[in-house]
């Protein structure tokens, strides 16, 4: 079978995040809650954040979905914690570009996120990867209004 292509999708770092997600749960002291779902497949996510002075002080997620959506959510929370809302939104846009297979700004440190670049080759799975990012973007932009 086409294991090589599959291995590009299911990189070990993704499976690690899926099995042992970071920041899983609900923030008790959060001031932003976003629920989002992917109506075509049933994936759901609840993102709770504590955003103060335009900084994402803390973030947790809960949800149900495939390995790609849950791993992406785990990585997202890891990356935006401590960032300004502006930086978080910029990351979301970079991630979206990555999913579209666009050239990326090399100055941005993608860290684990780079492992999700293989998703761009699986069009049916892009929405899985972007769900939590969309929730985050809605959360921080709503907060900063």
């Amino acid at each position: 079978m086409s294991t090589n292509k599959l291995d590009q999708l299911y990189r070990s770092v993704i499976m690690e995040h899926y099995k042992h997600p970071k920041n899983k749960g609900v923030l008790e002291n959060g001031n932003v809650t976003i629920d989002m779902n992917n109506p075509t497949c049933g994936d759901v996510i609840r993102l709770t954040m504590n955003v103060e002075d335009d900084i994402v002080k803390d973030v947790k997620f809960e949800g149900e979905g495939c390995s790609i959506s849950m791993a992406s959510a785990s990585m997202m929370t890891q990356m935006i914690k401590g960032k300004t809302t502006e930086e978080a939104v910029k990351l979301a846009h970079t991630f979206s570009d990555m999913m579209l297979g666009k050239e990326l700004d090399e100055s941005i440190d993608l860290d684990d996120l780079e492992a999700l670049s293989g998703v761009a080759q699986f069009p049916a799975r892009i929405k899985c990867a972007t769900l939590s990012w969309k929730a985050m973007e809605e959360g921080v932009s709503g907060e900063s209004q």
């Binding site: 294991t3 497949c41 979905g65």
Partner: protein, 409 residues
């Protein structure tokens, strides 16, 4: 079992996907099309294309003959009394919405009841939700048995003298359950309610006899039964349809048009506003010819055996859960399942890399997913062109999936 040669009628099946011969196990979403249907569409557009019911010219007559000829084929296919009871529509969804908006609005009022079940497809839930909201009626659900079947006792408990409409799927697109429509119709009629049947998953696979069922409305789609997309059928009893108002107004459906008042054509055309789905109907007619030549009984038997074979083989896989009735006699040709804690999306992606097409998701049945207490499932659905080889490939693919995720975990 049917001959493997049937596959040769379906050119799309003869291809490789991701380096493997295609195994198409998603016919409950949409079926593939035999060359007979593809050629009927091609022939219509090449030689006969014209508008219907108005041209004096030859092409207009040919198009009208083709379109109305298809209606007669549908009439025979479901054993309706008259072609006046066969209305062409976009699909099952439009047909059920038409019943809800035309019959429903005129006959349902505050305090009345509409009865459906927990296994319905969204297309047989939301039209009734909307009708209930508009009219103040109560939407009631018949509870399912543990194995995903309906018990007639619960049907009797739920339907009351306040019930005006009962609308139930003939065959479940998730559980595969075949529902006792004839018996439920009797119960509905005892309480003075009309019976509407969502036959989207039945029409492709089982012989439908609307007179024997005695249902009042029945809806199905062409694309799940070897026909084109964009064509479906609403069957309704003539006396009911005659008393119903159209919900789409415009060309084709009128008799006399005045400045402030108009009258409608007779059945079935009063429900077919606008230029109809001519090519789609002709394609559906060709699909019916194709299915009837093989025989619906033979098709049902083939799928029944295939599903039984699949359930046996799949049950041998450790950690695989199958949903719906265990008894193959109570179910149609599809198997909905989950594999360990591997998410159905991930299962579907690994299978796809092996050339095997299955569905993953909530199958347009979110309330049923809730009832099953899962967020989504995978589904393999079979049709007349599938073989035991396809099932073997699926089982092999599922074992690969299991190994793959065991390795990466």
């Amino acid at each position: 079992m049917l001959s493997k040669d049937i596959r040769n009628h379906f050119p799309i099946l003869d291809q490789e996907v991701n380096g493997h011969p295609l195994v198409y196990l998603d016919s409950a979403a949409t079926s593939q099309k035999p060359v007979q249907v593809i050629e009927a569409l091609d022939r219509y557009y090449r030689f006969d294309n014209s508008n219907v019911h108005r041209g004096v010219h030859t092409l207009g007559n040919r198009a009208t003959d083709g379109y109305e000829g298809a209606r007669e084929k549908v009439r025979k296919f479901i054993n309706a009394k008259s072609t006046q009871e066969v209305i062409f529509m976009r699909g099952t969804t439009t047909a059920i919405n038409t019943v809800a908006q035309s019959y429903g609005r005129a006959n349902v009022s505050e305090g009345d009841e509409i009865v459906i079940t927990h296994m319905e497809h969204h297309s047989n839930i939301i039209p009734w939700q909307q009708l209930a909201k508009e009219t103040g009626a109560v939407l009631k659900y018949i509870d399912l048995e543990e194995d995903g079947t309906l018990s007639l006792d619960k049907v009797r408990e739920t339907i009351t003298d306040k019930t005006k409409i009962v609308s139930i799927m003939y065959v479940s697109n998730v559980l595969g359950t075949m529902n006792p429509i004839e018996e439920i119709t009797k119960i509905a009629h005892q309480h003075g309610a009309v019976m509407c049947v969502d036959a989207a998953q039945a029409a492709p696979h089982v012989k439908i006899d609307v007179q024997k069922l005695d249902c009042d409305f029945l809806a199905f789609s062409g694309h799940k039964m070897c026909g084109p997309t964009g064509i479906g059928v609403l069957y309704g009893k003539k006396d009911l349809l005659n008393n119903m108002e159209p919900i789409e107004f415009g060309g084709e459906m009128i008799d006399f048009v005045g400045l402030y008042e108009s009258t409608w054509k007779e059945l079935p055309w009063k429900f077919e506003g606008g230029t109809p789905i001519i090519a789609g109907a002709i394609g559906l007619g060709a699909a019916i010819d194709f299915l009837e030549e093989i025989g619906l009984d033979a098709i049902e038997q083939h799928e029944h055996e295939l599903a039984g074979y699949a359930m046996d083989k799949m049950s041998e896989i450790d950690g695989l859960t199958i949903y719906g009735p265990r008894d193959p006699d109570q179910r149609a040709g599809l198997v909905t399942f989950n594999l360990d804690d591997v998410h159905p999306h991930d299962v579907a992606t690994v299978l796809d890399m092996n050339g095997i097409a299955v569905r993953a998701g909530h199958h347009c049945a979110q309330p049923l997913m809730k009832w099953l207490d899962v967020s989504s499932t995978a589904r393999a659905s079979f049709y007349l062109y599938n073989t035991t080889d396809d099932v073997d490939r699926l089982v092999e693919g599922l074992r690969t999936t299991k190994e793959y995720f065991n390795d990466v975990y």
